[in-house]
């Protein structure tokens, strides 16, 4: 969500082949005058969207590429050209590597957690008729909420003296592990991750559930007659059928993990003692708090570039899935 881990981070490219074919079909059998009218209307209809994207997307992206090669402090109208200095600084910046390491932990756990939990939930709900809409609405809800609000509530849950988590731990006799979960550098990252997993699980759940509804139940039935037990049916019959969708949701969650920002920024701001600093928050604080505009931009572009291979992989998966007629 949210500019939350936006699901639209890298949506599939529509197949241009199909539209071109369709275009030709409409052209054939229409008069020259109609075609001229179509061309004019097409340009007029696309123009507003194109202008907006040119001004608020293409232009700033080009500027970002320019910022990377200069040293811009936000005031200088002709900032000095520095070549690749921003990149060499980045490679030697120990704080950047610490943030990158946290980011890696985030990507791994923040993907694995929701995948396991969301798939488990979907399997649990699969085939349940009574109340299935209710459960779907409930489990997806955290993903729809604004991240700031989510951060506030989980802040209470993790609070040192009056937090619900500590309170619950005391109740079950684990009083010695209680702490200020967000204030302790050893646990802060994992506490924020726990919150993020709570929100992302619903996303995986909804997508896997919709894939499960397309599973050929005859095959599951046949396997059951052949004496396959639950685990065998799951591994050999069900999972292979939902694999394309499963891989897609994996890629999407991975992409969201690279650019994580809102939830960390709101809950800890990167602290305590940089324990939760990720590349996104580090880029933000460089650009907007330390006025190191060029360096912050370089960081943001690097984060984006790192996610590109995953996005390409995702796109390939989606195209294969759509050509096989799969989908939700």
């Amino acid at each position: 969500m949210t500019a939350a881990p936006a699901p639209a981070a890298a949506p599939p490219l529509p197949e241009t082949g199909r539209s071109r074919r369709r275009g030709r079909r409409t052209q054939s059998g229409v008069s020259e005058a109609t075609r001229r009218q179509q061309a004019r209307l097409g340009v007029l209809l696309v123009a507003p969207a194109v202008v907006l994207m040119a001004v608020f997307l293409v232009f700033p992206v080009l500027n970002a590429v320019y910022y990377v090669f200069v040293d811009f402090d936000g005031l200088d109208t002709t900032p000095p050209w520095v070549g690749l200095a921003n990149f060499t600084e980045l490679a030697q910046d120990r704080q950047m590597w610490a943030a990158a390491w946290n980011n890696l932990i985030w990507i791994v756990l923040g993907t694995a957690g929701p995948l396991v939990l969301g798939t488990g939930l979907a399997l649990l709900l699969w085939g349940v008729r009574r109340g299935s809409t209710f459960y779907r609405v409930v489990f997806f809800l955290p993903y729809v909420l604004p991240q700031v609000a989510v951060g506030v509530v989980w802040g209470w849950i993790y609070a040192p003296t009056r937090g619900w988590l500590n309170r619950g731990l005391e109740a079950v006799g684990l009083g010695e592990v209680t702490r200020g979960w967000l204030g302790d550098p050893d646990t802060a990252l994992y506490a924020v991750l726990g919150t993020a997993i709570w929100t992302a699980t619903g996303f995986v759940f909804v997508i896997v559930l919709s894939a499960l509804r397309n599973v050929a139940t005859e095959l599951v039935d046949a396997a059951m007659l052949d004496g396959a037990n639950y685990r065998q049916r799951l591994r050999s019959v069900v999972l292979p059928q939902i694999m394309p969708v499963f891989l897609m949701v994996t890629a999407l969650t991975l992409i969201g993990g690279f650019a994580v920002f809102d939830i960390v920024f709101v809950m800890t701001g990167g602290g305590p003692a940089n324990a939760t600093e990720v590349l996104g928050t580090y880029a933000y604080s460089n650009a907007f708090q330390l006025s190191r505009i060029s360096y912050g931009t370089t960081l943001a572009l690097v984060v984006t570039a790192l996610a590109v291979p995953v996005a390409v992989w995702l796109n390939r998966l989606q195209r294969r899935a759509s050509s096989e007629g799969l989908g939700a």
Partner: protein, 281 residues
């Protein structure tokens, strides 16, 4: 299909499964229940007995958040930032989506690459230079400027989304319309658009939620705080000083309530928006 799945799904739904699901649902909802409960308790009760759920009833926390916490103006600003940007996205995406799906026009390939580019590049990548661009255009702290930015972050997705709806319509419709002497504009406006209103509705709901929840765009481009939306107001409410949990819970409730209501009422459209961002090719 769903009914049949019951018999074939691995494992039979029994008491145990329903119990587990119910428990997990409760666990998932707990943070939301906590917000509602804390909001509706009296301020005194929140201080003395923070762990009691629904142990008293009072609207004073809501009152404090509304009057002292400025959540009334945050709410208005959220509307002023989400509604116009959503309208822009839905209208422009429907127009562009139709052109890409149905009309041959010069520059089409190039324009299409622009849409794909927008799908691939996240806001995060260009947020810094956009700040300085907005500053030099005099659009910082401006409702118009921030609405335009919010709209342009969703335009690519919207165009791609609407294009899929128009592509699915049969070509016979156009031919019949042309036979009747309709102009291309009339075909678009009076024949095609009415057939994709369900798609426009889903796009509107999905976009509205994204804009309502957006935090980074107003954080960056509303620096003076004149038009602070709920997300930003809530963030600043927790920052700096330690506030009472009661009014904070009330502020959180005001922020999430429109989202929850919209989502529960229109969950099909909302889920469709999120799903098509993920799976449909």
């Amino acid at each position: 299909m769903r009914g049949r799945g019951r018999a074939y799904a691995p494992g039979r739904p029994g008491m145990g499964r329903n119990l587990t699901l119910g428990l997990l649902a409760l666990l998932t909802l707990f943070p939301v229940i906590l917000v509602v409960s804390t909001t509706l308790k009296s301020a005194q009760d929140v201080r003395v007995n923070p762990f009691g759920l629904f142990s008293s009833f009072s609207l004073e926390n809501l009152d404090t958040a509304w009057t002292v916490g400025d959540f009334d103006s945050y709410l208005l600003n959220s509307v002023l930032l989400s509604v116009p940007s959503t309208v822009i996205v839905v209208v422009l995406s429907t127009m562009a989506g139709y052109a890409f799906a149905r009309l041959p026009f010069p520059g089409r390939t190039l324009a299409f690459y622009l849409v794909v580019f927008g799908l691939l590049v996240p806001f995060f990548a260009y947020m810094v230079p956009l700040y300085f661009q907005m500053r030099s255009m005099g659009l910082l702290d401006s409702l118009v400027g921030v609405n335009l930015v919010l709209a342009s972050t969703q335009l690519s997705f919207g165009t791609w989304f609407m294009r899929a709806f128009f592509s699915d319509l049969p070509t016979e419709l156009e031919q019949a319309g042309r036979m009747d002497g309709a102009s291309e504009w009339q075909l678009f406006r009076q024949v095609m658009v009415p057939l994709v209103t369900s798609g426009m509705g889903a796009l509107a709901v999905f976009t509205f939620l994204q804009q309502w929840n957006n935090f980074l765009v107003p954080l960056l481009y509303m620096p003076s705080g004149d038009y602070r939306p709920l997300t930003l107001g809530l963030y600043l409410f927790i920052g700096g000083r330690s506030v009472d949990a009661g009014p904070l819970a009330a502020g959180t409730l005001i922020t999430i309530l429109p989202v929850v209501v919209l989502y529960v009422l229109l969950q099909r459209q909302v889920t469709q928006g999120f799903l098509s961002g993920a799976v449909k090719g």
